[in-house]
């Protein structure tokens, strides 16, 4: 295992360079952890807000009082003088969004089944006003139903029945609380960031070994030894695999450490699986760069261009939803794009059925295709290079 040991020694010699990217990852992670920790606690799944409305009543009746009571559940009443200018000012300055006027004689006509209407003045395009409209319609329609079907029903009895009806509620259980979604987006950030840091570490580590083994003199010297070429290649590949797995495991552990709350979720399993596929793709890309680069300086430059370039256009530093369609189209020719895309899908997953998983697996499959393509090109490039030498 001389060759394997040698590869490990070379990797160790290049450890300081690789550590830079791990430290960058850790620092960014720490900053993210501290800035996002506060935000997570105040997030609630749903907060009920009440619209502000003015309720101008030109007659006092149990029916109208019942309506007011029902509306008080969804609206906050603001007392305003019954003057046109004051009411218009209140709407303009958004003191209220809805003014409801109950005209005189409304109750009598309503109880006798005549067609009557309430008067409303509103700010257009307000979602809260639609909710108030629906509540008023619901109250009056239910009242009409009772009046039509129970002859001679009194206002008190009618209001009592309506109150009883509207007091009933159905329990609602949130299947996917928004708080959890927030946590996954947090994990998603760490795993997405691996597209930069893990790829950098792999390119630097593997190209360092490749450059040594591509040296013509050393290659010839090894070829003159009694160790057969297959054994040398196997030991070399084993070293590359060990380096890849070690770098991947360290990065995954960092991701889990900074996101301990979700470390045991099912999403995390898929995040880890996706990152492993990406690590394979990264090592394959490193193999290609190692075959093309002629010196460590060139390899470092290529490493920076590739990792930063991929990361900027693929949604590692800037989320994909903020990137232009053209940029994303270009990014789709990089494995980082598919890695980030799969992470985003995993982060949003609440159901883990086959159809949901297939979308993630298809993105992983694209990464595998990239890995195979890089490996194929690397082998051809390596052979051509040796031929030219």
């Amino acid at each position: 295992m001389q060759v394997f040991k040698l590869c490990m020694k070379i990797a160790r010699k290049n450890m300081p360079l690789m550590m830079i990217y791990l430290v960058v990852f850790l620092v960014v992670s720490l900053v993210m952890t501290s800035s996002l920790a506060g935000e997570q606690k105040v997030e609630e799944p749903f907060t009920r807000v009440k619209s502000k409305m003015a309720f101008i009543n030109e007659e006092n009746s149990p029916l109208v009082e019942g309506l007011r009571e029902e509306l008080s559940k969804i609206a906050e009443f603001v007392e305003l003088p019954d003057e046109t200018e004051a009411l218009q000012d209140a709407l303009f300055f958004r003191k209220v969004t809805y003014i409801l006027r109950v005209p005189e004689g409304f109750t009598g006509k309503f109880m006798s089944g005549e067609d009557v209407q309430l008067e409303k003045t509103i700010i257009p395009d307000s979602a809260g006003n639609v909710y108030i409209d629906l509540s008023i319609d619901k109250y009056l329609n239910a009242a009409r139903l009772y009046i039509k079907n129970i002859g001679g029903i009194t206002q008190e009895s009618l209001v009592s029945r309506l109150q009883e009806d509207f007091s009933l509620s159905a329990p609602v259980k949130m299947q996917a609380p928004a708080g959890r979604q927030k946590d996954q987006s947090y994990a998603r950030f760490f795993f997405n960031y691996m597209a930069y840091s893990l790829l950098s570490i792999l390119i630097l580590g593997i190209t360092a070994i490749m450059l040594v083994f591509n040296d013509k003199g050393l290659r010839m010297r090894n070829a003159c030894s009694p160790v057969n070429a297959t054994s040398i290649n196997v030991q070399f590949m084993l070293a590359g695999a060990v380096l890849t797995v070690a770098a991947w495991m360290i990065m995954v552990m960092c991701c889990l450490f900074f996101n301990l709350e979700n470390a045991l979720s099912i999403n995390t399993v898929y995040f880890i699986l996706n990152s492993f596929v990406f690590a394979l793709c990264g090592s394959s890309l490193s193999f290609l760069i190692g075959n093309l680069a002629k010196s460590q300086d060139v390899a470092s430059a290529v490493c920076n261009v590739v990792t930063l370039g991929f990361s900027f256009i693929s949604g590692v530093f800037v989320p994909q939803e903020y990137l232009a369609e053209l940029v994303l189209k270009i990014a789709s020719f990089t494995p980082s794009y598919w890695f980030v895309r799969a992470n985003n899908k995993i982060g949003e997953m609440t159901k883990f059925d086959l159809s949901s998983l297939m979308e993630v697996f298809s993105d992983m499959l694209v990464q595998v295709a990239f890995a195979v393509a890089f490996l194929g090109i690397a082998l051809v490039a390596g052979k051509k290079r040796r031929y030219l030498e």
């Binding site: 001389q2 020694k9 070379i10 040594v212 010839m220 010297r221 070829a223 030894s225 009694p226 160790v227």
Partner: protein, 313 residues
């Protein structure tokens, strides 16, 4: 017979790097391959080591056909490349240990051999040094240590003394002779004729992929007509004085260039006295004077019409 090459032909497109090359190396020899750059020495070595595929011919090492996958043969061969081929990430000790480890699996035996190689090449004080900290001469010595640490029966050295100072060169040449005394057969390629004259028991002179002469240095010198070369510093010579020198027995040429008179004789090694006598008789003023026996450069010059020195680096 340690190495036997017969009718080796290797072409790079239109260029014939080895042109029906045939030679053999006996056990215990220091066999020199002498030739200018591009004469096919490295090509021949690479073919012997199965690093290159050749067009035709046969190569046998230790009586067996040389094949890239004959690892038993490779175990007994040590190679010292023309360019220093060591790992800059490893120290002197680690480099020798790595290359020795490719041949020797026993940890203790390997340790002993590495120590011996370090001692042999005089690198004991530099064992923890990285190659980038070593001078050119020390690097060459490390290159040799990596090639011979496993105590091979056959050592192939491809120009191991290129671009190093005379002290380091002498140290390396002494080391090669010591290796030979310890029982190793050595094939040594170079374009420095002084080196082959100093260490090689047999020499093959190469040019344009062909072996133009093989033999001991004495045998090679016997092949040419030149017997002695006398160089005289003069202060002017007339045609008649030159003609008088030419008239002497065995003298084949008299040339004067930059106040240096070069007199070449075809036979004999004692023409100096006659030349001095003639110069006195014809009043030729002279300063320094010295006599040389033919060198391998003269052999190369006479056979190819080219100067070996002019072809070198």
């Amino acid at each position: 017979m340690v190495v036997k090459v017969e009718n080796l032909v290797k072409r790079y497109g239109d260029i014939v790097a080895a042109d029906h090359l045939s030679f053999s190396v006996e056990e215990g020899e220091v066999f020199g391959l002498l030739g200018p750059n591009g004469s096919g020495k490295t090509t021949a070595i690479n073919c012997i080591l199965s690093l290159l595929k050749y067009d035709s011919g046969t190569i046998e090492i230790f009586g067996r056909p040389a094949r890239p996958d004959d690892y038993d043969i490779k175990r007994d061969i040590g190679i010292v490349m023309q360019n220093v081929a060591v790992y800059k990430e490893l120290t002197v000790y680690e480099n020798i240990d790595y290359f020795c480890g490719l041949y020797i699996h026993g940890k203790n035996e390997r340790k002993r051999l590495v120590e011996e190689a370090i001692e042999f090449t005089g690198l004991a004080d530099f064992r923890r040094f990285y190659p980038r900290k070593l001078s050119g001469g020390l690097l060459r010595r490390l290159n040799i240590a990596c090639g011979i640490a496993h105590k091979p029966k056959l050592v192939i050295m491809d120009e191991p003394t290129v671009a190093i100072d005379p002290q380091s060169r002498n140290k390396i040449l002494e080391g090669i002779l010591e290796l030979n005394r310890q029982g190793a057969t050595i094939i040594y390629t170079t374009h420095y004729m002084e080196e082959v004259e100093q260490i090689c028991s047999r020499i093959m002179i190469m040019d344009r992929g062909r072996a133009i002469a093989i033999g001991t240095k004495e045998e090679l010198k016997q092949m040419i007509s030149l017997g002695e070369k006398i160089t005289v510093e003069t202060f002017g010579i007339t045609h008649s004085q030159a003609d008088a020198l030419r008239a002497l027995p065995n003298i084949v040429s008299v040339e004067c260039k930059d106040r240096m008179l070069v007199i070449k004789s075809s036979k004999g090694r004692n023409n100096l006295e006659a030349v001095l006598e003639c110069m006195k008789t014809h009043n030729i003023q002279y300063g320094r004077i010295y006599s040389e026996l033919p060198t391998l450069n003269d052999v190369f010059l006479e056979i190819t019409g080219k100067d070996l020195r002019d072809q070198g680096v």
